[in-house]
C-alpha cells in the first residue's frame, strides 16, 4: 500500500467514524424492520423438500410456506381464545373447488396460479408431484399411505385444470391426508430439467431450491445459520401475506433465544424450555401462546413381550406409581394437559387423548405388584432419548424415585438422539419414556399406529391383542362408511381396553408454545407444529 493510499483510507475510516452512528435505524431500515419478521429457533432446515431423505421439522416449515397444496384447513378459535386450524373444515388453496364421490375426488385448479418463475401450474404438475410422493419411498410415501394414497395410477390429470384422485378403498383419512404437508405441488418441468439418471425425482435439486409456487420464496440461505424468505407478490392461492420478509435465524442457546425476545430484537422465539415459557407468561412483557398438541401424548411404554411387563398387574402397578402431578408441576411447569385421574366410573369419551383413571397410589401399586408375584420388586432399566433431555431427564428421575418406593429399582439409560430410533426399532427396551403425535387428529389413527398388532414402530411396547386389532379395524371401517354409532362404540371400547391393560401409560398431553412480541398477531396453531407465515402480521 502506498503512502497516499494509506492516508486516503485513513481519511475514509475517520470519515466513517465521524458519521453519526444511529442508535436506532435510519427510517428506511425502520420501515424494513416493520415489514420483516425475525424468527429465532434452535434448529434450522436441512432440506427444503419434504420428499427428501431425512428432512427435519424445520424443513417442513420451509415446504409448508413455499409450496401449495390443493386444499388447506380453515381456522377456528379455541375456547381459550387462541387460533387453530380447523380439522373438519377444508379450504381452497391451489384447487378452487372440488367434488368428492364414493370412488374419487375431482379438483378444479385455479385459472391464474403460477410457479415462482411465472409458469402456469397445471394438473400435469399435480399428477407428477403426487406420483413423486408415493414413489420416492421413506416418510412421504408412508404419510401418503396413511390416507390410502399408494399408487401413481390413482392420480389422473383429466385436463390442464382438472385433477382427479381415485380411491383404492374407502378411507375417511384420504381427504385429510391431501391437506398435510406432503402432497405439495412441484414444478415438474423445472425439476425434470435438473434431475439425473441416478436421481429421477430431482431430490438433489429441490433440497436447496424451491420449485413451487407458494406464498414465500427463499432468497437467502446459509445452512445451519439463516434462511431468508421474501413474499411471493404474485401468489394467487390465498390472501397475500402481510409480512414482506421473514428472517429465520438459528440461535442454539435457549438463554439467548429468551434474551432476544425479551429485549425486543426477535419477533418470535420458538423451542424455549417450558420453564422459560412459563416465566415469560408470568412476566407478561411478551405474549406467549400455548396450545395442546393435537393427538399427542407423552407416555411411559412397557415392553409387553417379556417379563415382568407382560403381566398386566405389573403394568397397572407401574401406572399407580407414576407421580403424575409432580411431573406436571416440576417438569412441564403446568404447560401440559393432565392425562390422569379421571373418575373410575366416568364414561369413556369418544375422543383422544383423554385422561385415564390411574392416580398416584403407592399402596395400590404395592398390592398389585404382590398379586403379580413381585412383592420384592425387581430391577429394570428406564430409557429415554437424550435429544429431548430437557423434559425426559427430570421426568425419568421422578419416575425412578417413585418406582423405588414400590421396590422397583430402575436404572436410567440415556440414549443419544442418533441412536434412539434404532433402539426403538429393536423393541427390546423394557421401560421407556417417549412421545408420539399424529398429524391426522383422529383416535383410530393414533391407535392404528400405537396399539395395533401390525406392530408399527410406534407400537413401542410390542403390544399384541386380537380384540384390540378387531376394534381398531372396525372403527376405521365404520368411519369410512360414516357409521357414527359403530364408530363411537368401537372408539370407546378400544380406549377402555387401552386403559385397562395399560401397555403404555399416558402422562400428559404436551403443548406447543410460541413467544411473540405484543405487536405480532395472526399466529395459528397447526397440526405440523411449525409456523405459517401467511397469517402472521406486525401491527
Amino acid at each position: 500500500m502506498k503512502r497516499r493510499d494509506f492516508l486516503k483510507s485513513v481519511t475514509a475510516v475517520s470519515a466513517a467514524g465521524a458519521l453519526p452512528m444511529p442508535a436506532v435505524w435510519s427510517p428506511a431500515k425502520a420501515q424494513a424492520r416493520q415489514e420483516t419478521l425475525l424468527v429465532v429457533s434452535e434448529y434450522s432446515p436441512n432440506n427444503f423438500d419434504i420428499h427428501g431423505v431425512g428432512t427435519n421439522r424445520p424443513g417442513y416449515e420451509v415446504s409448508w410456506n413455499c409450496y401449495d397444496r390443493l386444499m388447506s384447513h380453515g381456522e377456528k378459535t379455541l375456547p381459550d381464545g387462541t387460533s387453530s386450524y380447523d380439522r373438519d373444515k377444508f379450504t381452497p388453496e391451489l384447487a378452487e373447488d372440488w367434488n368428492a364421490t364414493d370412488t374419487s375426488i375431482t379438483f378444479k385448479l385455479r385459472k391464474n396460479a403460477t410457479f415462482h418463475d411465472g409458469t402456469a401450474i397445471t394438473a400435469k404438475d399435480v399428477k407428477w408431484s403426487f406420483d413423486r410422493a408415493v414413489s420416492v419411498g421413506g416418510f412421504p410415501s408412508f404419510q401418503m399411505k396413511a390416507g390410502s394414497l399408494e399408487k401413481p395410477e390413482q392420480f389422473v390429470a383429466v385436463d390442464d385444470r382438472t385433477f382427479r384422485v381415485d380411491f383404492i378403498r374407502k378411507d375417511k383419512l384420504t381427504i385429510p391426508d391431501l391437506a398435510v404437508i406432503v402432497p405439495a405441488v412441484y414444478h415438474s418441468d423445472l425439476i425434470k430439467k435438473n434431475a439425473t439418471e441416478k436421481d429421477p425425482w430431482g431430490l438433489e435439486y429441490t433440497k436447496t431450491n424451491i420449485a413451487g409456487g407458494g406464498a414465500f420464496k427463499v432468497t437467502r440461505w446459509q445452512a445451519g445459520t439463516e434462511v431468508v424468505f421474501e413474499r411471493n407478490d404474485d401468489w394467487k392461492n390465498g390472501d397475500l401475506p402481510k409480512v414482506r420478509r421473514v428472517v429465520w435465524r438459528t440461535v442454539p442457546s435457549a438463554g439467548n433465544r429468551r434474551a432476544l425476545i425479551e429485549r425486543g430484537d426477535a419477533d418470535i422465539s420458538v423451542d424455549l424450555p417450558n420453564k422459560d415459557f412459563a416465566e415469560l407468561k408470568h412476566v407478561g412483557k411478551v405474549s406467549v401462546v400455548t396450545n395442546l398438541i393435537g393427538n399427542g401424548i407423552s407416555y411411559i411404554g412397557m415392553n409387553c413381550k417379556s417379563p415382568p411387563f407382560n403381566n398386566v398387574k405389573v403394568r397397572q402397578a407401574i401406572a399407580y406409581s407414576i407421580p403424575y402431578q409432580k411431573i406436571m408441576d416440576a417438569v412441564m411447569f403446568g404447560l401440559a394437559g393432565p392425562m390422569f385421574g379421571s373418575k373410575p366410573d366416568a364414561p369413556i369419551a369418544v375422543a383422544w387423548p383423554q385422561p385415564h383413571p390411574y392416580n398416584t397410589d403407592l399402596a395400590k401399586a404395592k398390592q398389585l405388584l404382590a398379586e403379580a408375584g413381585y412383592s420384592n420388586g425387581f430391577d429394570t432399566t428406564l430409557s429415554f432419548d437424550l435429544g429431548f433431555a430437557v423434559v425426559n431427564e427430570p421426568l425419568c428421575v421422578l419416575v425412578q424415585e417413585s418406582l423405588a418406593h414400590i421396590g422397583i429399582k430402575a436404572t436410567i439409560n440415556k440414549i443419544p438422539g442418533a441412536n434412539w430410533r434404532n433402539e426403538l426399532l429393536k423393541k427390546e427396551m423394557p421401560l421407556i419414556s417417549n412421545f408420539f403425535s399424529g398429524w391426522l387428529d383422529y383416535p383410530e389413527y393414533f391407535f392404528f399406529w400405537c396399539y395395533h398388532g401390525q406392530n408399527a414402530v410406534f407400537n413401542t411396547m410390542s403390544y399384541q391383542d386380537k380384540d384390540m386389532d378387531a376394534m381398531i379395524d372396525a372403527a376405521r371401517a365404520a368411519a369410512a362408511i360414516n357409521d357414527k354409532a359403530g364408530y363411537e362404540k368401537n372408539v370407546a371400547s378400544f380406549v377402555k381396553k387401552a386403559f385397562d391393560e395399560v401397555p403404555r401409560i399416558p402422562l400428559f398431553q404436551p403443548t406447543l408454545s410460541m413467544a411473540m412480541q405484543k405487536n405480532v398477531f395472526g399466529y395459528r396453531y397447526w397440526f405440523h407444529r411449525q409456523l405459517d407465515y401467511r397469517t402472521l402480521a406486525k401491527a
Binding site: 483510507s9 475514509a12 475510516v13 466513517a16 452512528m21 435505524w25 431500515k29 424494513a32 424492520r33 420483516t36 425475525l38 429465532v40 434450522s44 436441512n46 432440506n47 427428501g52 431423505v53 431425512g54 428432512t55 427435519n56 419411498g137 421413506g138 416418510f139 408412508f142 404419510q143 433440497k207 436447496t208 437467502r220 446459509q222 445452512a223 445451519g224 445459520t225 439463516e226 428472517v247 435465524r249 438459528t250 440461535v251 442454539p252 442457546s253 438463554g255 439467548n256 434474551a259 432476544l260 425479551e262 429485549r263 430484537d265 426477535a266 435429544g387 443419544p416 438422539g417 442418533a418 441412536n419 430410533r421 434404532n422 426399532l425 408399527a456 414402530v457 410406534f458
Partner: protein, 337 residues
C-alpha cells in the same frame, strides 16, 4: 528454506494418513445409526434399509473406505446429511468464521496477557504479579459457555450495549463480497465501513469470551520464560553496561523469551479453533466447531471426518509456521526434519 519446508510437509504426510484412517474407523464405531436417524420417526425396517443402501452404508467397511479415499483424493469430502450440503463447501464457509473469531480472541488475549506477563516477571511477588496470577486463574477456571452467557447477559440483556447475539452480522446487513471469508478483512477491502463496524460489534463479546479463557497460558508462559531470561548472564551484562531498563527488557530479554510464548500461542490457537464450539453455540456463531458437534450428535459421518481432517491439516501447517517463525526470531534454531 523452501526445500526444508517441503521436507517438513513430507514428514507430516504419515500423520495425515493416520488421521484419515483413525477418523474413518472411529466414526464407524460410533453407536448411532445414521440410516435410522435420517429415515425419520415413521420409518419401517425396509425404509431404513433403503436409506442405508442409498448412503452406501450397507457395503463392507473396506469398500466404504476405498470409496472414501477415492473421493478424498478428488477433494470431495462427502455430503452432510444434517445440513444437506457438501462438507467441503460447509468447511469453506465455516472455517473463516471460526478463524476470525479465534484470531480476534487471541489478539485480545495477547494484548492483555503478554504485557501482564512481562510486568509480572519484572516485579515478581509484587501486586502486579499477584493480579496477573488471579486474573489468569480466574479466566481459565470459568467455563467458556459461562463467561459467554454472563457477558451476553450483562452487555446485551441488561445494558443493551452489545448487539443481539445473532451470529456474525445483524439481520439487516449482508456479508461483504468474499475474498478471505473473514468479514473484517473483506469489508475493509470493499471499503464498506458500515459492515466492518457491524461485524466488529458482533465480534467483541465472543472474542472477549475466548480471550478471557486463553489469558492464562499466554500470561503464565510469558512470565515464566521472562523470569528465566531476566536472570541469565547476558541480561546481567546488559544491565551492567548501563542500558536503560526498557532496552534491556524489550530488546534483549523479551526477544529471547519469545520462543516458548510463540509455541504456546500456536497451541492455544489450534486448541481454540476446535474448542470454541461452546462460544459458537452461545453466540450463534456459524463456525466449524458447532458444525462438527451437531454432526456428531446426528452420527453424520462425513462432516466429522472432514472436520478432523481439516483440523489435522491446520495443526500441521501451524506447527510448520511456528518452526519457521522460530528461525526468524532466533537464528540459532534451524528447521530440521
Amino acid at each position: 528454506m523452501l526445500s526444508m519446508t517441503l521436507k517438513r510437509m513430507m514428514v507430516a504426510l504419515p500423520s495425515l494418513v493416520g488421521v484419515v484412517i483413525v477418523t474413518f474407523v472411529l466414526t464407524r464405531a460410533l453407536p448411532g445409526d445414521p440410516a435410522a436417524y435420517f429415515a425419520g420417526p415413521a420409518a419401517t425396517k425396509e425404509a431404513i434399509d433403503q436409506i442405508r443402501s442409498k448412503l452406501g452404508l450397507d457395503k463392507p467397511l473396506p469398500t466404504q473406505f476405498v470409496h472414501y479415499v477415492w473421493d478424498l483424493a478428488r477433494g470431495d469430502l462427502g455430503q452432510s446429511l444434517s445440513t444437506g450440503q457438501p462438507v467441503a463447501t460447509e468447511i469453506r464457509t465455516r472455517l473463516p468464521a471460526s478463524a476470525e473469531l479465534t484470531l480476534v480472541g487471541l489478539l485480545v488475549s495477547m494484548t492483555i496477557a503478554v504485557p501482564l506477563g512481562i510486568l509480572a516477571a519484572t516485579r515478581p511477588g509484587s501486586i502486579v504479579d499477584h493480579t496477573c496470577r488471579v486474573v489468569a486463574t480466574a479466566g481459565v477456571s470459568l467455563p467458556v459457555f459461562f463467561t459467554g452467557l454472563i457477558l451476553a447477559y450483562v452487555f446485551y440483556y441488561l445494558l443493551g450495549l452489545s448487539p443481539a447475539p445473532l451470529g456474525r452480522l445483524d439481520i439487516f446487513y449482508s456479508a461483504p463480497p468474499r475474498v478471505t471469508g473473514l468479514y473484517l478483512i473483506d469489508s475493509a477491502f470493499a471499503r464498506d465501513w458500515e459492515v466492518f463496524a457491524a461485524s466488529l460489534k458482533q465480534l467483541i463479546l465472543p472474542a472477549a469470551t475466548l480471550g478471557i479463557f486463553s489469558l492464562a497460558p499466554i500470561a503464565r508462559m510469558t512470565r515464566a520464560s521472562m523470569l528465566a531470561v531476566l536472570v541469565s548472564d547476558f541480561v546481567r551484562t546488559a544491565r551492567a553496561s548501563g542500558l536503560s531498563p526498557f532496552t534491556v527488557v524489550f530488546t534483549y530479554a523479551f526477544r529471547n523469551a519469545m520462543l516458548p510464548v510463540i509455541t504456546t500461542l500456536g497451541m492455544v490457537f489450534s486448541f481454540l479453533l476446535g474448542a470454541n464450539v461452546l462460544v459458537e453455540k452461545v453466540f450463534a456463531w456459524p463456525g466449524i466447531g458447532s458444525y462438527a458437534v451437531e454432526a456428531l450428535i446426528a452420527s453424520d459421518f462425513a462432516p466429522v471426518q472432514g472436520f478432523v481432517l481439516t483440523m489435522a491439516a491446520m495443526y500441521v501447517m501451524l506447527n510448520l509456521l511456528i518452526d519457521i517463525l522460530y528461525g526468524l526470531i532466533d537464528p540459532r534454531v534451524r528447521i530440521e526434519a
